[in-house]
């Protein structure tokens, strides 16, 4: 369980959002919404420990994140980011295998167990056919799946995704949502992602977290969120 109390997030010592409270449990699928510039990325960066919290508590299983080493953290959570990957001659196989690196030895060789994890994830995402391709030759949808595969083989208990559906076409969006649902409900991972695709997530996610224009975080089930009128108010729909 990831818990945060009175959390303030921001960057360069500048607070963007403050007084945030909530928890992310394993097995839950949660979508983070909010208009551009409201601080979604900032919030996500702090939750994934890329930026330190400005103040307040952020704990995983009652341990403060400051007391968790970055290697231990790599085994607890994995991320899919919007960062562009620029390496040429990077094969899908090599990229996915990298996800296993927190578990491997000094040289990064894979064990029997590591290979098993790889196989399972590849089957789950059905990416056998692109396994030998170069990453830069893939379509956006395929790239997103490969990045997801890399995160999954890391063997995390929590998965964080920064706007994973943004550049995808409709079928790819739906497929990605299905996979995230399987990962959270069957594999019991805590999945947390930011998105703007309201109609895509309403039937899928367990909770919607909305940061409104005043910087207040609302957490409700999709139905309650709909009834509350907060979405209409914040997105002018």
């Amino acid at each position: 369980m990831i818990e945060f109390k009175n959390l303030s997030v921001g960057f360069h010592h500048q607070t963007v959002l403050s007084n945030l409270n909530g928890e992310i449990a394993e097995g839950k699928l949660i979508a983070l919404m909010g208009i551009n510039g409201v601080g979604k990325s900032c919030f996500l960066k702090t939750m994934t420990t890329m930026n330190p919290p400005i103040s307040g508590e952020l704990k995983i299983d009652n341990v403060d994140i400051k007391d968790i080493s970055s290697l231990e953290m790599a085994k607890i959570m994995a991320v899919v980011l919007t960062d562009k990957i620029q390496a040429d001659f990077l094969r899908v196989e090599e990229l996915i295998r990298l996800g296993r690196s927190p578990h491997t030895n000094f040289w990064g060789g894979l064990s029997e167990n590591d290979n098993q994890t790889l196989d399972d994830v590849i089957k789950l995402l059905k990416i056998e056919s692109i396994y030998d391709r170069y990453f830069c030759d893939l379509s956006d949808g395929q790239k997103q799946k490969v990045l997801l595969a890399r995160a999954l083989v890391q063997g995390p208990r929590y998965l964080f995704l920064d706007e994973p559906t943004t550049y995808l076409d409709i079928p790819s969006k739906i497929e990605l949502m299905k996979i995230l649902k399987i990962v959270s409900h069957e594999k019991k991972m805590g999945v947390f992602f930011s998105t703007h695709d309201l109609n895509l997530i309403e039937d899928t996610v367990d909770e919607i977290w909305l940061i409104d224009s005043e910087g207040v975080l609302h957490k409700k089930s999709p139905v309650d969120m709909h009834l509350s009128g907060l979405l209409q108010k914040n997105f002018n729909i």
Partner: protein, 319 residues
Amino acid sequence: MKVRPLITIFSFLLITTLLVFILFAYGDAGFTLDNEVVLWQLRFPKIIVGLLAGGMLASAGLLLQVFFQNPLAGPDLLGINAGSCLGVAIAIMGARFIPPALVEVSLPAMAMLGALAVFLLLGFLVQKNISRISLLIMGLLIASFASSFISILVNMTPSLQVKNFLVWSMGSFQGLTVTELPLFYALSFLGILAMMILPKKLNQYIIGENYAKSMGVNVRAFKIILILVCSYLVAVVTAYCGPIGFIGIIAPHIARTFIKRSDIRFVMPAVFLVGSILALFTELILIFTSPYSLTTNSILGLIGAPVIALYLFKERRML
């Protein structure tokens, strides 16, 4: 799956060995194998120096390209060579101010200091999110700043020391005498050892700093180590062989074009070998063209510039 990288590395190894044998048997004195002095005092040192220096420069280029996520990064284009040069210029031309006991160490030390200074400046700019193109321009600016500074030093210094410096600044794998070799071995060995701790982290770093962090890499510590190792490699080579251009930037491209992987565990030895091959090949050309007394850098420039141009042409999405 792993056949191609291994075959590529093996082929590079074969070419290197071949070049070593040719250069050992054939030299300015023609084809000889029985003159001990020529073999061990003249040919052997330059082969070893070419082998190690070429390899280390190439590896430094690879480290830089990963660090800056920029395929055009290399010790010369980023001005790290120039920084090293300035350090050496100060060491050579200021030799009269240095106690005699320290003169032998002052060269590599100053080369290292110069390289490190430039690298730290560039690292600082990268932290400030400078664009890739600005970074390359920064490299050019540093190089021209260093060369202006050097020319001022040249004007203020007695001619003997200037001559020493100018000879050094032409760049050559032949400048080392047999007595200097042991120290060069030791320094190179240390550099190669230092490189061998990097592959796993470099692999994680290839897909970006944030991903590396999320996979448990202490990015700050890793960057510092990378900066130190890279400056060290460039400095050792530059101190003994002078500023050698192009190997650092083209060797990684040549190696990757053949190996077609990005896994550093395969790429790094391949890059090292390509660097050695380039250095030894240049030596071979120097022997064939010995009546014209060409310089190492002019030959490397003739090979290197078209290779980079070709790469730029092929790779439209790089900048």
